[in-house]
Symmetry: C2
Subunit: 527 residues, 2 copies
């Protein structure tokens, strides 16, 4: 089909990552080619009984699998790479490009899921430009975020340059010294950016997000004041935070034991690639530190969000095999609870305190900063890239609205931006941006068994049983329409003040009533 290149349209279809934090998954489609940008997962919310993992509805991609030319990964957070192993069971992706740390973590996931052979993983470094299909040229631009090795991407398409920020804040004093490649952004801004898709997570918050480094003196003070054993919990993926904690451990002469599979895993990959640097003997297994004096020990754990199976939660619940809280321990929460986790976190803190720990937590301590930029970071991104069209991304509806208001305040006309729903199909041309349709955009709920999908019907049944319980009646009825034995009644999760024998009598009476009235009719229908 011969067409004037400049008049064709680029379709952008976010399948997840809007209207909720998590499961970021986006389709870019030009003529007969699709590239995917990230494929994350989310965790179940209230009422998703027995659900382990939440994925976006991938029907559109499955139906168009023959168009897929490759995937771009921006960074190694679960909400950006956690879905890939599941999707590869259903369709192949010829090639996945991404930062070294993300690729190392992804490789492990794919091997575990047995789908390592269904794609090709290729690592990129800053300013790498990769061609995917005929229509896409993707340039990796280093950014700063809470995980190391994170990128903004400039996607060169036949109709112009589309910049997807990935997750970012402007951290001018990054812990690893890897600076945001502002120069490349500015250069694109100078030459002309057709469209900017930008991280909206903190668009409700004024000001700049402080540098990760601002946490250092506060953690330093907290650690220096700890008298006994020291526990610190943070996000398993916070490479920079972990780096600082390891540095501070050395400074204060504490050896470090890491507890929690995901954190051990990340640290191994990050050390391999040089993103975490520390002497080998700083890190020790738990049994090696058991007999050290308490003031020489730092235990770094997962569970900063009160996740039910995480190390810190099990410690607080006195369910951890090897670790028990003692009077005089200090426990530091170097993370803020994500909304929805607040109750779990404060319950964990209460339990730790009741066991004698001194717990250091709370926003006023300065021991956590976000990895996402606030309004001023978002303005700086807009100022650097000067996009013609703008799409707020990665956030819930009200965050997208706020972000669009910020962009308006900088002169982007309202008709040059769209507020999206998951599944919306954006048509972007050199002249206009608009939503032209919608693809399936529900959820795919992966069962705790890891194999099956939880359907809406199954969820409803579970919800109903959870709220009311279930009564089962087993009645053996002979061909002559008489009960052969007393009916067996089982109550599970049922609240009643009626005694079992009475209940049994009632059920039996009712069955006999029905049999006497309806049996002939029923038996006839059987012939």
């Amino acid at each position: 089909m011969a067409r004037n290149e400049n008049s064709a349209a680029l379709k952008i279809i976010p399948l997840g990552g809007l209207h909720e934090i998590g499961k970021n998954t986006c389709v870019f489609e030009y003529e007969d080619e699709i590239i995917l940008l990230d494929a994350g997962l989310a965790f179940p919310t209230d009422g998703m009984h027995g659900v382990n993992i939440v994925l976006p509805d991938m029907n559109y991609v499955r139906e168009n699998r023959h168009k897929i030319k490759g995937m771009i990964v921006t960074h190694g957070h679960e909400d950006h790479i956690g879905g890939i192993a599941f999707h590869l069971k259903q369709f192949e992706i010829p090639v996945i490009y991404g930062p070294r740390l993300a690729m190392a973590m992804l490789e492990g996931k794919l091997e575990e899921a047995g789908v390592r052979d269904r794609t090709e993983l290729r690592s990129v470094v800053p300013r790498d430009v990769v061609r995917i299909g005929k229509n896409f040229l993707v340039e990796y631009i280093r950014n700063t975020h809470s995980i190391a090795d994170s990128f903004t991407v400039a996607i060169h398409t036949p109709i112009g340059i589309v910049i997807h920020t990935g997750d970012f804040k402007f951290d001018h004093t990054p812990v690893d010294g890897e600076r945001f490649d502002i120069q490349r952004l500015a250069e694109h801004g100078e030459k002309g950016v057709l469209c900017l898709l930008s991280d909206s997570t903190n668009s409700e918050l004024p000001g700049f997000t402080p540098s990760e480094r601002s946490v250092y003196p506060n953690l330093d003070r907290v650690i220096s004041q700890a008298k006994g054993r020291l526990f610190i919990t943070t996000f398993a993926s916070s490479v920079h935070r972990i780096n600082m904690i390891l540095e501070l451990a050395q400074k204060h002469n504490r050896v470090v034991s890491v507890v929690g599979r995901s954190m051990l895993n990340l640290i191994a990959h990050a050390r391999n690639l040089g993103y975490i640097k520390c002497p080998d003997n700083l890190l020790q297994p738990l049994n090696a530190i058991r007999n050290l004096p308490p003031e020489s020990v730092l235990i770094l754990t997962t569970g900063s969000q009160g996740e039910p199976m995480s190390a810190m939660t099990r410690i607080a619940n006195k369910e951890h095999q090897h670790i028990k809280i003692r009077e005089g321990d200090t426990v530091v929460f170097s993370a803020n609870p994500i909304p929805g986790n607040t109750i779990a976190v404060v319950n964990t803190i209460d339990k730790l305190m009741m066991q004698g720990a001194n717990v250091v937590y709370g926003r006023d301590k300065g021991i956590h900063v976000s990895g996402h930029g606030c309004q001023e970071d978002q303005k700086l991104m807009l100022a650097l890239t000067r996009p013609k069209f703008f799409v707020p991304f990665h956030g819930e509806h009200r965050m997208l609205v706020k972000h669009s208001q910020t962009a308006q305040s900088m002169g982007v006309p309202p008709e040059n931006m769209v507020i999206l729903n998951n599944g919306d199909v954006i048509e972007l041309t050199q002249q206009s941006i608009r939503v032209i349709g919608k693809v399936a955009s529900g959820l795919e709920l992966v069962d705790t068994s890891g194999s099956g999908m939880v359907s809406a019907k199954v969820l409803q049944e579970r919800q109903k049983m959870a709220e009311e319980g279930l009564v089962t009646v087993a009645a053996a009825i002979g061909w002559e329409g008489k009960l052969l034995a007393k009916p067996e009644i089982h109550l599970r999760g049922v609240v009643t003040s009626i005694e079992k024998p009475l209940l049994q009598k009632w059920v039996q009476q009712r069955i006999e009533e029905i049999l006497s009235v309806r049996w002939t009719e029923f038996a006839e229908s059987f012939d």
Copy 2:
């Protein structure tokens, strides 16, 4: 039993209200007399499937019901009076004293529950002193809180004066002009207070809680900027807030429709008693405002916490019979989400925005303040009353710990305070305070049906069915140990990729296997 009065001990037993916000219920016991102070309810948390209301374990009170001389109510919030109607079904309370507004609300609850005849309700006014039993003289001291007509109580006992703050903040410019009776507190402080039990809700927050009146100019601005219809949602019990909103409605020439049963109920009582003042024609039913111009309408609703059945939630879900959001509506959330409700609230906000509403929310707007004092309020309470012994109350563990640290910073020795768990029995004498034992302190979970109690076993069964679903197999087996028909299999809430006929075949094979091996043995055991 003849004893030196001064050497006997007062027992204080908090049955609820510690380690969680809600269900405040406290026992004061001296020799053979018990008085109760408040009896609230809490709402179910995650995993309490099919639970409507949470009450403290009342076994201790039920067992000692013959000792009960009466109850003191401090104010009309649900976490202080919501449990009374339930308890009266199980034991009588000779007399309940409380503020007029709380008593009016309580009377309605008791009538509804059919237990109005099981107690006597007596209203009190500031500085009233009531005698309960031989040993207790209770003085009502006006305080300031988010609901009108709220009290601190000074309980005169044979061993000295115990002050229970109730819920409070120091609001020196109260909306209703009813000032905190600081003079009485100071006088007690001068004469000597044996023990202070004080509200710990905001003990983690530095500074003073701002006056309720500080909300006025901000609400004024928000209301004056609203172009179309105006919705405001706040706590149904926030009498002062509602008063201000009604005043501002008059100022801006809007008539008010109140939507939500609990708020209508409170406004009726509060207007009756003069705590809410407004002209009759300001309040109009929904159908009377339907045809008014949008800028003449203010709809005041419940649902500020995203409660599933509340008016605002149903409006956001497009499930409200009479109200639909239109482009240009303004919706104001004059309340902050309580932890645990955050997700429900932000989901509601998102849905309202998607329907075209301009939603005003968030801490930075100055349109909500807490009804509980922060650290400086708590210090002022300690400074006024100068107690010998101190017990932080009404808060979760870490809040109690913080509050005790605040008291320590003011010179209360650590051995003169206790950090309590629900069910702890405090022994207070003129010389000492200590925990001497523990009574049953679990939860009583009232089923959604309103009648039965949900036991731990029932909850476990519900949880298990919610997570995994349930498979039932009905098999009719004859006396000769053969299946009389194919077994019937039903799956509810089960995730499986196995086809039903295959599953049926497997189950049948397994039953036949077991029958062939074990039937004889089983049949013999039956004889």
